[in-house]
Symmetry: C2
Subunit: 247 residues, 2 copies
Amino acid sequence: MGHPIATTRPQLKALCHQCSLSKLCLPLAVGEDDIERLEDIIKQGRSFSRGETIFEQSEKATSCFAVRGGAIKTTIINKSGDEQVTGFYLPGEIMGLDSISGNSYACSAYALERTSVCELPIDHMEVLARKLPTLQHHFFQLMSSEIQSSQQHAMLLSKNTAEERIASLLLSLSSRFERRRLSPTRFNLPMARNDIANYLGLAVETVSRVMTRFQNQGLINAKGREVELLDVELLQEVALTFARCKS
Amino acid sequence: MGHPIATTRPQLKALCHQCSLSKLCLPLAVGEDDIERLEDIIKQGRSFSRGETIFEQSEKATSCFAVRGGAIKTTIINKSGDEQVTGFYLPGEIMGLDSISGNSYACSAYALERTSVCELPIDHMEVLARKLPTLQHHFFQLMSSEIQSSQQHAMLLSKNTAEERIASLLLSLSSRFERRRLSPTRFNLPMARNDIANYLGLAVETVSRVMTRFQNQGLINAKGREVELLDVELLQEVALTFARCKS
DNA sequence: CGCAATCTTGAACACCCTCAAGCATGGTGG
DNA sequence: CCACCATGCTTGAGGGTGTTCAAGATTGCG
């Protein structure tokens, strides 16, 4: 209900050059001189509280979004009516690249906690990309890696056991926290068990069971959404399939 | 062994304007006037026989490929060493968009039958895309839909039963044959059961069993790689989950 | 013709799901 | 402030779908 776009604050011009995430979000994409032209286009300052909708599937797609703070999940509703979580997006990451084709958003996006984003209007970005070769290149790169990670995810779902999937997710989150200079071994999960289960193609109960199993094996320390990775090496082993060694 | 690029024929300049697939491959992307500039860049005429490698994972990525004839499978080798089929590509489709980021090919590509492709050098395409807005736009669209289809595939793998997965694949192939004005109900599978199983995250035996089950239910008629879809409507029902109705 | 690869079929087992119930957590209102 | 309820998380038991292992049938190709 209501335009998800028209929220609290007026649309501030972005301040990419002083954003702490600029190195993650648009690394090297734009030279010092051109960054102003980028800032003219990007709208900053949208903020969403937990559970709020950022955009909804099949609504007209106008923008991609860069996550500034918080966390986002994207979901698809398939024809048989059930929801599939297709991704989690953390600060510095760009979301909505799947929606450039076809005019309407290919997925819905929800804030998992208090979240702020920068809005990248697609048509303006395309125009600018033509003028700034490095920006165009960067966009191609971003989209290409989005394809890759989506394929990796498909692979995870098709070949791996519950333990492998969960270990992989924990490690992925870990390295994404590390990129932001946060602790790679101690963090809060931004999403519910339910979302994890859905994203990994498992039942909630299975996620729960595996988490406690990991805990009993001394791999992690988890209480609710707080997680501490105790043995990253072993977790990596688990993620790489030969989890045959049951202690 | 040897450069997969350096094959039989010398590199002919492409003749997109008289290619029967141009409407699928680069629809509306380029105006009449500009198509020459595209033809200057695209190299045509590479041909591969069954089983040959078009490119290999982690080899330096130079080009995307448009399939002219035949069929291609792409695979990823993951860290634990086993192979995952990530996609099948038929004439009119473009392959290798996942390899634009990171310099090296993200997957390997193999000809499933006698196959010919047009080569799209990535760097040249980027330059041209800057000059031709519609081409840039088209590339963004292509990559975006690649993300989408890859997500759809992940969804298929995470939520659906063996029957649903196989029905989906058959229907996907069917509609892709139809686009090319071939029979949507009667065609040859370009890939082995093994590839299907791998692509769908199943065991070969399961694929076999489901195919014969479909046959017994009068949904299809299959003998080896020859397939005839007898009841497309029902197949669609099966693909959409409520396959509870066992006759 | 014969071998190799591919495909099919069968039986037993494993993994994960479903169903069901109990347990924590947190926000709300009395 | 605490009781209360809703929501989310955990734990247990049983059953189903697909895998694995094994063997046989079919196809294709030298």
